[in-house]
């Protein structure tokens, strides 16, 4: 049954803004992005929102709904009661451009800081061969749709703007892990993860995992294994001695 829902939507830009109240129709089966589009069509034609696929696969419509980082297109209205006020704001970690649209270029800067896939020098493209069992760990991380909700919710940068230089965020530490685990990647990712990407700043409170719409176990499968590899190198003299004595490689 259609009903009128109470919405609060943040309107503004870098100069300032506020939460504005709207009363808007909701129909069965709709998601929050549908309601935002209805607002654009009926009450706020200049409301800015970034969106694309409406299927939870492009990662464009990231925002915060009732304070929780979510994809607007994957947040069903049926999860709210009809009496509940639904508050929609832009992501609060990145600079705002206008209304629900933020400048996520921080993430592209961090992406460029991760050295790309580095196959063996004597292996030509087309000759890559690997066992499924060896590549499967990296494949989980390939599900990432780069919605940057994990980057947005990570308190290291969300609550401390000054950490943005030193910390790449969970998405790009996961990218380092993806390449580190890749059977054909020859680059040494571990020192860079700790030093350049700021892995030591992560205190594994798992918010990145909680908000991931692809349900990637970022903390357990990427960040903690990378922390353990750093511990191998920097904090475990036994592993260090063993690798020297027995010349063990991975």
């Amino acid at each position: 049954m259609p009903y009128k829902a109470k919405f609060k939507v943040w309107r503004g830009d870098v100069e300032g803004g506020e939460l504005r109240d709207f009363l808007v129709e909701v129909n069965e089966g709709e998601v929050v992005l549908d309601i935002i589009h209805r607002l654009q069509a009926t009450q706020a034609p200049d409301l800015a929102v970034r969106w694309n696929c409406k299927a939870g696969k492009c990662g464009s419509c990231s925002a915060e709904v009732n304070g929780r980082p979510r994809l607007l297109c994957m947040t069903r209205m049926s999860t709210f009661t009809e009496e509940e006020t639904v508050t929609v704001t832009p992501m609060r970690t990145f600079p705002v451009i206008r209304d629900l649209v933020t400048d996520v270029s921080f993430n592209y800067t961090k992406a460029r800081e991760i050295p790309s896939f580095t196959p063996p020098a004597d292996l030509a493209p087309g000759d890559y061969r690997m066992q499924q069992v060896d590549v499967q760990r990296s494949q989980e991380f390939r599900k990432c749709i780069e919605c940057f909700l994990c980057q947005n919710t990570c308190h290291v940068v969300r609550d401390h703007e000054d950490n943005k230089d030193a910390f790449s965020g969970p998405r790009f530490l996961m990218r380092a892990a993806e390449l580190e685990f890749h059977p054909l990647d020859t680059a040494d990712r571990v020192p860079a993860a700790q030093e350049a990407n700021g892995l030591g700043l992560c205190n594994i409170t798992k918010c990145c995992t909680e908000v991931c719409p692809e349900h990637i176990r970022i903390t357990d499968n990427a960040l903690i294994p990378m922390k353990e590899r750093v511990a191998d190198r920097k904090y475990d003299p036994i592993v260090w001695l063993g690798s020297k004595l027995f010349r063990r490689t991975k």
Binding site: G16, G67, T89, D159, D236
Partner: protein, 260 residues
């Protein structure tokens, strides 16, 4: 709040969080749970009595191994190489610091107390109260990287606890034996589900296909690892339950239910 969500250029929203759910409840429950265990464990560790039932061979894990001449008869399964201890030193002092270290540096407990005790952050998308943050990059928190060493010692202590449970079985079978065995099984599950164990078992490899046995071990530990949080809390409960049962039987408050 000028450096976090209130930083210039971000959307101007005065509220620390706009979450409408009870986000404060999990950290509150975590604090209560941890505080309860710490108070109980501290009191029992320093109590110095009712930790062994000689007749049935029950020994509480809080006093194992008991290596001092101060230990009551039947509690020293590995002899008494240490002299009598003053009352302010817990009789389980050999293992307790390492078990505490194992849990303090555990990846799950870190998440739990960073969120609940240190509020960093108290919940996802709820601004933390601290003005600066350096994570685990400097002392004292850089010591968290020593988790694997505590894991190694915890393995030894698990073997000792298993031995204690087996020794108790040589005295017959009672409800206390089942409590001790349940505790030991869950302690093993918690210890083996540790993230460092997962890494050591096979996680550090790049090519699983070259190490099929270690891959198998990694797979098994990974299955347990998914339950690490549940096991962390369950074992706190079974440690208290086991100790409480031994204390009640040892003090004569209840009698052990004997099967044979």
């Amino acid at each position: 709040m000028t450096s976090g969500v209130g930083a210039p250029a971000r959307a101007s929203i005065p509220a620390r969080t706009l979450r409408t759910d009870r986000w404060w409840l999990p950290p509150l429950l975590t604090n209560l749970g941890l505080l309860t265990f710490i108070v109980y464990a501290t009191v029992r560790s320093f109590m110095g009595k009712w930790y062994v039932v000689e007749q049935y061979g029950y020994l509480t894990p809080f006093y194992s191994p008991c290596l001092s001449e101060s230990c009551l008869p039947g509690s020293s399964h590995f002899g008494t190489p240490l002299p009598e201890l003053p009352g302010w030193i817990p009789l389980g002092f050999v293992a307790l610091p390492f078990l505490l270290g194992f849990r303090l540096t555990c990846y799950y407990y870190r998440k739990a107390y960073y969120r609940s005790v240190w509020q960093s952050p108290p919940a996802c998308a709820v601004a933390e109260p601290h003005g600066s943050y350096s994570g685990e990059t400097r002392l004292p928190l850089i010591v968290q990287n020593a988790h694997r060493y505590f894991f190694y010692v915890a393995l030894v202590v698990s073997v000792i606890n298993t031995y204690d449970a087996i020794v108790a079985l040589t005295h017959g079978l009672g409800l206390g034996n089942l409590v001790l065995l349940l505790n030991v099984v869950l302690l093993w599950a918690y210890t083996l589900s540790c993230h460092s164990c997962r890494h050591i078992a096979g996680g550090r490899l790049k090519h699983f296909s070259k190490h099929p046995l270690r891959y198998r071990a990694w797979t098994l530990v990974s299955k347990l690892n998914v339950r690490h949080m549940q096991l962390a809390w369950t074992t706190l409960g079974t440690l208290v339950l086991t100790d409480l049962y031994v204390m009640l039987v040892a003090s004569g408050t209840i009698s052990d239910l004997r099967f044979f």
